[in-house]
Symmetry: C2
Subunit: 589 residues, 2 copies
């Protein structure tokens, strides 16, 4: 296998572990601490998860663990979108298993959860794992988005687990995949199966976190990769001084990625979907806010700038949210009628007749190119694929029109020329940063310890992440503890709560405190490419989000953030009606 120089070099990196996990295995004991309850809907969840509900949070500490060396057969699944570090979770799991007992075996299910259903798997051995240590991607066994939900799927999974005589299955995934892991653990126990199920918190989106899970893996590397690109574009904007760059960032509903990138790069504007929803800001208000910043910068002869836009934005803008919901409902019942329409003009007429008046008007204001994106590429449920909508182009179009109006009214004298970008796939498979390499390896090793210690229905948990790795705390959290009941596709289901950006949280507040300055006074930071070697501040820093949430001081170069000065209003602040900072509603409610 021919590999790049960096990949060859990264093979030699030794991921750091929490101190306790470097001890002799039989001296690492799991200590629990009382019953737990779910974040909401306790009675319903207790009934649904009669076997696994209420278990204690556990931490690994010095003690006795005599059974830890037993021979094991473990399966591992990569579920959902790629996140840097997935291979290291498997490497940590593998090394733990083999350290426990060299005759233990690790099997990788191929192509995601469907591998379990279809009993498609391959044993992972030394040679293979060594080719994937500290690398990005999920290509060691592939990933997939199949959900194990139906009775047939669960029965097939039980069948595979039985046939393979699996002691445990590790599911590496986001909130949905870990909800599935919780269900599987419960079903396995109901079926009298010995197979334990352990989850690992993965997602670049950063929306799988709570008191016990400080961050999901991959968020660190992905945001650093996007911040590299944003910084490069900022420097370009500040050199050429003639373009506004509208940059959309992956992240699904939550704006964690956009917020983290803003903290790393100090752009002129960063929209935060959760704030826009809380303030009920319309597209018009968002546009006005952006234009006021552009006009203020033009006054200083700075006809350039950078605007960050979270992928999920349109779902949080009131009138767009309604439009999307109406389109989804309409397509669910009249898809055939719609699909028979000849062209966009016919579709537009049909929508005008079938949408509410307000939504029909909203739809009519969209540029044709964008409007088409609301109608094409619907997902298997017939839903609009929000991630395919070029929000960045929509905003450019609206801003451009508004600036022309302002120019006519003598309120804007600048020149407006723009470029649009969308960053997502660029960061999901980067070589994991040292942080993610260490964190993932530790999560994998901890998953092994949870298995060897007899737990099921747990999420592998490594905490205290702003401290050096040896001070990290390894343990497990019952999956049910993070769950509540939510409406999904017409029925109430147990799910792990998605964490959106909290408007009273420290990361958002740090951003809000500085953004008015950043909007008008060019304050760009250029993080540059992720470094794997060098001094700690260059190659071993966690995200700003984590540092702010955990209370460690310093940003970027470890210096104090620049004090915010009063200045012309930043986009969101300028256009919002109220200064709402209370906690926003969670997604799916």
């Amino acid at each position: 296998m021919k590999v790049s120089a960096l990949q060859q070099n990264r093979y030699g990196y030794k991921p750091k572990l929490p101190r306790i996990l470097s001890e002799k295995l039989e001296t690492i004991a799991a200590t629990g601490s009382g019953a737990t309850k779910s974040v909401a809907d306790q009675e319903e969840l207790k009934a649904l998860f009669s076997n696994t509900y209420g278990k204690p949070v556990v931490t690994f500490t010095k003690g006795k663990n005599p059974g830890v060396k037993k021979q094991l057969r473990v399966g591992v699944i990569l579920s959902g979108g790629q996140a840097p570090g997935g291979h290291n979770v498997i490497a940590g799991l593998y090394d733990g298993i083999k350290k426990g007992n060299p005759d233990s075996k690790l099997f990788g299910f191929l192509g995601g959860p469907s591998g379990l259903i279809e009993a498609s798997y391959a044993e992972i051995k030394d040679k293979r794992i060594d080719e994937y240590r500290n690398t990005g991607g999920f290509d060691i066994i592939g990933s997939g988005r199949t959900k194990i939900e139906t009775d047939e799927q669960i029965a097939a999974s039980i069948n595979t687990a039985k046939k393979m005589k699996l002691d445990a299955i590790v599911i590496i995934g986001g909130d949905d995949s870990n909800t599935n892991a919780a269900l599987l653990a419960e079903h396995f126990l109901n079926a009298g199966l010995k197979t334990q199920v352990i989850g690992v918190p993965k997602t670049i989106d950063g929306d799988l976190k709570n008191n016990m899970i400080e961050t999901s893996f991959g968020f660190d590397t992905a945001t650093k990769t996007y911040a590299e690109l944003i910084g490069n574009i900022e420097r370009d904007a500040n050199s050429a001084k003639k373009y506004w760059h509208f940059i959309k960032l992956m992240g699904r509903s939550a704006s964690h990625i956009a917020l983290e990138c803003a903290l790393q790069t100090q752009p002129n504007i960063c929209l935060i979907s959760e704030e826009i929803e809380a303030k009920k800001m319309t597209l018009r208000q968002i546009t006005d806010g952006i234009c006021s910043v552009i006009a203020a910068r033009a006054e200083n002869n700075e006809n350039f700038g950078v605007i960050l836009i979270p992928e999920g934005l349109v779902e949080f803008v009131p009138e767009m949210k309604v439009l999307i919901a109406e389109l989804n409902d309409l397509m669910a019942v009249k898809a055939e009628e719609f699909n028979a329409l000849e062209d966009f003009a016919a579709q537009s007429r049909w929508l005008h007749a079938n949408l509410s008046r307000a939504s029909a008007e909203t739809f009519a204001t969209l540029p044709e190119e964008i409007a088409k994106q609301f109608l094409m590429d619907r997902d298997p449920h017939g839903n609009v694929q929000v991630s395919r909508i070029e929000t960045e182009k929509l905003l450019i179009s609206l801003v451009s029109s508004k600036l022309k109006e302002m120019a006519k009214a003598g309120k804007y004298k600048g020149k407006f020329s723009s470029y649009n970008h969308f960053f997502g796939y660029e960061g999901r498979c980067a070589f994991p940063s040292n942080f993610d390499a260490d964190y993932c390896y530790s999560l994998g090793f901890t998953a092994f310890m949870l298995i060897a210690s007899g737990f099921t229905g747990y999420l592998s948990s490594v905490r205290n992440l702003t401290a050096p790795a040896k001070e990290w705390i390894a343990g497990g959290v019952p999956l049910t503890m993070m769950m509540n009941m939510e409406q999904r596709h017409g029925s109430k289901k147990p799910v792990i709560k998605k964490a959106l950006v909290e408007l009273d949280g420290k990361p958002f507040k740090a951003f809000a405190k500085n953004r008015e300055t950043w909007a008008v006074k060019t304050s760009y930071l250029y993080p540059g490419a992720i470094q794997y070697a060098g001094p700690d501040e260059v190659c071993n820093q966690p995200t700003q989000t984590l540092i702010l949430e955990k209370g460690k001081s310093g940003t970027g170069a470890g210096r104090k953030p620049a004090a915010a000065k009063p200045a012309a209003a930043a986009a969101s602040a300028a256009a919002g009606k109220k200064n709402v900072t209370k906690r926003v509603k969670r997604a799916g409610k």
Copy 2:
């Protein structure tokens, strides 16, 4: 000034110099070697450049240079698009000047060549230069695209140079800017001015190179940044196994960037404009070639892949070239009539009546969204802005239609889902790689040595670049030596010849030898982010283009390239009629 951790760290990097330039200045002598001539049109150029034509190529070697410590006043200009390392050129120039005489002064012209015309400048001092060492961007003094061409502009420049008592001006720019530098040198001598003019070869596009200039600066960093992203996307494609990514890469006319990125990442397809022109491939043939690769991969159940597309592609496809030329001609004479048209439908009708029949048909086959891009955003001359055309989307649209036809005919059984990307602004202002940091600093220092040694009309030249920096050869090349006469905007002008990809050159041949394998057998390489610290093979490798052109063996990790095996045909090869490998015509002819 708050800066990122990496920026702080890079301040401490000491760029490497050719050994000779570390000697005492008065022991570094310029040795010339006989008269030179331009690459073509010798008589015309000799007449146009009577003062500066025919000077010798010079090299700095051990000797005597007693005048090197004289006090100097030097101006520097950043011209055109950003390229990583521009700040280091200025740092090398600055350090040379100050080493020569601490009382010498360096002035930066603000906002590009217009700074010279308008006498807008600032002195560069220690504090300022130290804030920009080893950083990306051109923000230290800004850049611009003004050309110094008209009599008024030249007179104004002479005036500024006189008023500022400049001993020399250094112009950091691409082929056009250095053509201007040559003209300025000649005009200054004609005007009896002492001000020398030295150029520095800048452009990420890689098209400013020849026997004496091995590479332009910035190409190394930009291609490594794009290759990082392409590699990440390849790994994502290979993990998710469900998307085809169409990636357009900056680079203007030449395909050097696409080719270099292909050598670094081994994608399934990389289109090379120069080959497409040589083979006279139509859009239909290009599409067929891509589809045959997609179908071949689908046979192996690999419904994913990565395709690289050079920015300038459409200009090299015969029917598109004609269409663009006709549109440009039409707009030059009938812009007013066209601009009065109400909407796209009216524009289409008008074009149908005014274009040749062939071009009207070509235009009609374009997807509406793309067709509009041919009509909007024309440059100041009324020309179609080729870089604004989303060629990547055009190809997706054509490929998608063709695959549907093939599926109907039973010739394609796969699933096709795609994403498009355009990388350009992401790489122009990255922190320069160690190579570019060293190379640029050396170019700047060499520019000072040329000034101190009394040369004018020269391009700073640092050669032998695949050897360690201390073995690099520093010197100067007369700008006229690289020039020929070309038709530009209706009249014949002296210009520096643009270097396009040579189809009989080693980089293209290395690609051509392997591409049929890469097309069908997934052979991705993942270069990862640029590293600034670590072992040489990770952080001190020049581009594959340079290594192949200079004959040094090895690629990527320093291993041998995988041997090409016969396989299903690669895109270009599959669809091309003849196996043309002769040298293609140069641009502008």
